[in-house]
Structures are given as structure tokens and as C-alpha cells.
Symmetry: C2
């Protein structure tokens, strides 16, 4: 479908309002039960970097912003306020919310959104080579929701983070 | 907290593995009940542009990728495959999944993740001027979950999309 046809779909405002020009789709927030496990997963397996933390001790939670960018591109290593302003102007930020103590509750778990009641579906990481990435995830012992070889869509996989949220893995280009 | 301290948090891999260098946090997927209402909201209110559509008639759903980027930056207006490859390499993409016919079911609704069972929390749009943006949303009749004047955090607001998903609105810089 051409871009012109997409912009003619029912409901679509074809030319965004001038007021939205500098709006940035900044982040997606998910709650995580065990912060250390999630930090390990997102930094070691997927290469995210935590770039800001805010504590809310009265409400007993902490938030973290993570980006999938090279360390060298992250400014203000020693100036937290400047780095916070920077990250809030970026796109493609992941926010993890950790509510104190959830990791100590054996029967506590968050909801992935992919069983009833459904809603949120997944995050997606695009990679240069989906077969190499999936082989790496296998070596690292990552849980799969759907391997490349499962089902009809052989070009995408879904892995699961420590809370069971689904993460789609694909490559932009056709499979070799 | 300095970046060095963040990189020393429990669980954090301070230097991302070389294999993850070209991984891109590409998109977040949410399911929407009424495609036309969601397209209207995301394009008219928030300035998103739909840049790709894929139909899965056998499984009775369609997906759309939307970006918050100027029309001029979107390549391959008439080459759907090239535009699909482009969008799958971008960061800050929103995927809407529409399952056929849900809009005709009066009692059908998706789950925002912010009541039990909790999980996904919100999307966030950062804006140059949060007060101006919220005044605009009021004029447009957008539903608010939290106005700037509600509660203790006077620098952030939450609006709701047509399915009730929360969208945080903030500005990177301190309020004037």
C-alpha cells in the first residue's frame, strides 16, 4: 500500500497538525517483578544501557530509563539532570518500573497482555541477522515464545523477558 | 546517579556485547478495538503517520506501523517493501493490531494494564511545552487520566487513547 493510500485510510489525518511537530514518542513503560533479573536481561541479552533512575520512596517504587544506543552517544555521564533531559527527548526508550519487594513474593507475577484480558502485545527488537540473533539467544538460555521454526511465520521469533513479556525479533530485510 | 553508578547496578552488563551493536528497539505493539478511532487519535491528536500495513486475512487481523516523524523523512512513498524495510530499522515505532470485527462488539474492550492484572503501564510522548500540549488536548476533547493539576506530580499528565491505554505527557526541561 502506497503512503498516499495509507494517509487516505478512514480516520487518518494525512498532514499532522503543526502543534505536534516536535512531539516525540519517547518511551514505553512496563512493570518488572525482579529488577536485577530484568536489568540482566535487557543489558546482557539485548544490549540496553540504563541511563537514568528516579526513586519514589514514599510510593515505594523506582523507575529506570534504558536506551539501545552506544555508550559513546550518551551525554552528561556525571550530570544526572542533563542526562535526564537528554533521554526524555530521545525516541526508543524503555522504562522499567520496579515496585519494592515484589521479587520476594513467590506467587507475584505481572501480566504479559497476551492472555485474557488482552491488550499490550509486545516489544520488538530488530536485528541485522535474525538467525544469528536467535542462535545467540539459544546459547544464552533465553526463553522462547516462538522460535523461527515454529508456526507459519518463519522470519520472526518471539523471546520472553523475565516477567514473560513477549519480545519480537526480526530483521528488516528478507531472510538470506 | 552518574552513568558509572547506573552501570554498576546489580545485574547490569556495563558494556553491551558486540553482537548487540546493531540491535534496534524498533516498536511497541498494542491491540486496538476500533481502528478508525485509533487512527484518528494517533494521527490527529499526536501527529503519528501510518507508514506500513500488513494484512493477515486468514487470521483475521491487520497490523499498522506508525511513526512520529515528518512526512518528508519517510522514504519510498510508492515502494511498500522498501518502506517496510525502512520502518523496521527505525526506533520509536508504534504498532497497532486490529482484529477484525471487535469494534462491532458492544461489550468488547482491551485491558490497559493499569488495573489487575497489571503489567504494561503506558506510552509516553514528550513535548516541548507540556502546558500548551495539555491545553490543546483539552480543546480536542481528549480524555485525561491525570491532569497536570491532579495529584503531586504537577509536571506530568496522562491522557487516554480510545482503548483506555495511558499516554504520559511530559516535557524534558523544567516547567517555566
Amino acid at each position: 500500500m502506497s503512503l498516499a493510500d495509507l494517509l487516505n485510510l478512514p480516520g487518518v489525518t494525512a498532514r499532522p497538525a503543526a502543534e505536534t511537530r516536535d512531539y516525540v514518542y519517547n518511551h514505553t513503560m512496563i512493570r518488572v517483578k525482579d529488577l536485577q533479573k530484568s536489568m540482566d536481561f535487557y543489558t546482557r541479552v539485548l544490549g540496553f544501557v540504563p541511563v537514568h533512575r528516579s526513586d519514589f520512596p514514599d510510593a515505594e517504587f523506582t523507575i529506570y530509563y534504558l536506551v539501545r544506543q552506544p555508550l559513546e552517544s550518551i551525554p552528561a555521564h556525571d550530570d544526572d539532570k542533563a542526562r535526564q533531559q537528554w533521554v526524555l527527548g530521545q525516541s526508543g526508550v524503555l522504562e522499567l518500573t520496579y515496585n519494592y519487594g515484589t521479587e520476594k513474593q513467590a506467587d507475584f507475577h505481572y501480566h504479559s497482555g497476551n492472555s485474557d484480558p488482552r491488550g499490550f502485545g509486545h516489544l520488538c527488537i530488530s536485528v541485522p541477522d535474525v538467525q544469528a540473533a536467535c542462535a545467540r539467544f539459544e546459547e544464552l538460555g533465553v526463553d522462547f515464545q516462538k522460535r523461527l521454526s515454529d508456526g507459519r511465520m518463519r522470519h520472526i521469533a518471539f523471546i520472553k523477558d523475565p516477567d514473560g513479556y513477549w519480545i519480537e525479533i526480526l530483521q528488516p530485510t528478507p531472510l538470506a
